[in-house]
């Protein structure tokens, strides 16, 4: 599913040059959908040969550049004059099948008791929304999702599990997310998906991009 949006303009930013080959474009410590859209559009407007890598986040963009190709003052004016593209105002929503509870989601009971809701209500609330992928980081393919219903907020485990299998869907504080690979972790695991966020060897190893959104769909088995 794809949908269009309008791009807000004119967000202010500061430039930091923390090393000879890096510049951080910092829009401030803010999580905001309009700002994140602006950040991602700006990131694609900055693509040029002198820039080695562009890494967008919630409200900042890190550029690695080659100082032999572009001088600091040239880079400054290039960034200041960059016009975010209005053309690509389309975001993809990925529907992801999740088997909630049971062995797939050992913490569904805890989350529902903590919220004072039934397990089915937790599933209904969790599947009722689209979650924006603000950025990807932490582990290869790990999506930082926004928009968890505040009723489902749950503290992390006191003692993290040594192994959480790839595809586990969890809640930590006010965040929900999916473990892209086997990893230790302290998130409350409510379900599991067979969807892979990191597919080594595939033509598109990372099928989900920053700016996309995710909708969970409850199924019996994945």
């Amino acid at each position: 599913m794809r949908k269009e949006y309008q791009l807000s303009v004119n967000f202010q930013f500061k430039l930091h040059f923390p090393a000879d080959n890096y510049v951080l474009i910092d829009f401030g410590n803010r999580i905001d959908v309009d700002l994140n859209r602006y950040v991602l559009s700006m990131a694609s407007a900055l693509e040029t040969d002198a820039i080695i890598e562009i890494i967008p986040a919630y409200s900042s963009i890190l550029l690695e550049y080659n100082p032999d190709f572009i001088k600091k003052h040239e880079l400054k004016s290039f960034i200041k004059s960059a016009k975010p593209k209005q053309m690509e105002n389309i975001e993809t929503c990925h529907e992801i099948n999740v088997s909630y509870g049971g062995e797939s989601g050992p913490d569904l009971g805890f989350v529902s008791q903590n919220a004072g809701l039934s397990e089915q209500q937790v599933i209904d609330i969790h599947t009722s929304k689209e979650y924006r992928v603000f950025m990807i980081g932490f582990l290869p393919g790990f999506c930082y999702l926004g928009g968890l219903d505040p009723r489902l907020e749950t503290k992390r485990l006191e003692i993290p599990r040594l192994l959480i299998p790839a595809g586990s869907v969890g809640i930590a504080g006010g965040q929900t997310g999916i473990y892209p690979e086997d990893s230790p972790g302290g998130w409350r695991i409510i379900g599991k998906t067979g969807f892979r966020f990191f597919v080594p060897g595939a033509e598109e190893p990372f099928p989900v991009k920053p700016g996309d959104s995710i909708r969970f769909r409850a199924v019996k088995d994945v």
């Binding site: 930091h16 000879d20 919630y58 950025m135 990372f206």
Partner: protein
């Protein structure tokens, strides 16, 4: 395999194949990887006449050994691991000839912690997302066989200076104030840069933890997650500085107080537990 060149016998603490690093995927959370001592890695490839980004083996600590599977030229660069080839002591930073079935063995780092092993012509690694660097979590194991990439180039005579690897374990590195130094407070940042820190037990290719300081604790509840890169020094809530290394996370929620400058990353790659690190603001 006909192009086999080296078999790992003992992999030591952490040995991996590294090239110049993996670029273009950090926006998807894939770490940069690449050598932790980029200077030693670059000198290695120059003296062997290899391409700039030819793959080599990065060895951390001692207890490494292996067997050459054909006659070849090779070199060791970086920390001097007290190496022998068939029981004869060999120097670092020089091209050496090995015979088929020669045994290379490390007996103990004299100073520093990382040594690079390369062969003339380079090692052929598995290309994964554009790089032969082993991704985080992968490492060489006993019995692994490395293949020869080739062709062999013309060795360069290059000047080199490894005096940055110090026997006394006392290091000073150049830093700039980090993007979050204002948030943490300019005064705190200045105090941090003047201070010195012991390297803790926790150091690997992902990061190096330094000893915590009281005045650095409880400064912030964290920041909105931002990209980080090798050389960034984060401060955790408990006041512990953590240096991000090449296999580290691509983004972080702890404020970055200072950033180690590129020319001194080679020093960070040679730090070991108990070393004393201080800074020079630039």
């Amino acid at each position: 395999m006909s192009d086999s060149i080296f078999r790992v016998i003992e992999p030591g603490i952490h040995s991996s194949v590294q090239d110049g690093g993996r670029r273009g995927y950090r926006r998807y959370g894939m770490p940069l990887s690449g050598p932790l001592d980029p200077y030693a890695y670059a000198i290695l490839n120059s003296i062997l006449g290899n391409r700039e980004n030819s793959a080599a083996v990065e060895v951390t600590g001692s207890w490494f050994s292996g067997e050459f599977l054909r006659d070849c030229s090779f070199a060791l660069c970086g920390a001097d691991p007290g190496a022998t080839l068939d029981d004869a002591a060999i120097p670092v930073n020089e091209v050496i000839c090995a015979k088929n079935s020669s045994i290379l063995k490390f007996h103990g780092m004299k100073s520093g912690i990382r040594t690079y092993i390369g062969v003339a012509g380079g090692i052929e690694g598995n290309v994964f997302l554009g790089s032969t660097s082993m991704p985080r979590g992968k490492r060489l194991a006993s019995g692994d066989i490395l293949c020869f990439a080739g062709p062999v180039g013309n060795p360069d005579i290059v000047e080199h200076d490894f005096s940055y690897i110090r026997a006394d374990g006392k290091y000073k590195v150049k830093v700039r104030e980090g993007p979050d130094s204002v948030l943490l407070g300019k005064k705190i940042t200045k105090e941090f840069i003047k201070d010195s820190f012991k390297v803790s037990l926790h150091l690997d290719r992902m990061g190096i933890r330094l000893e915590p300081k009281e005045y650095l604790s409880g400064l912030s509840d964290g920041i909105v997650t931002k990209p980080v890169f090798p050389g960034c020094i984060q401060v955790t809530g408990s006041g512990m500085p953590v240096i991000i290394m090449n296999d580290g996370q691509t983004s972080g929620g702890y404020p970055v107080i200072a950033v180690i400058q590129n020319e001194d990353l080679r020093i960070i790659g040679q730090l070991k537990t108990g070393d004393l690190l201080s800074f020079k603001g630039v």
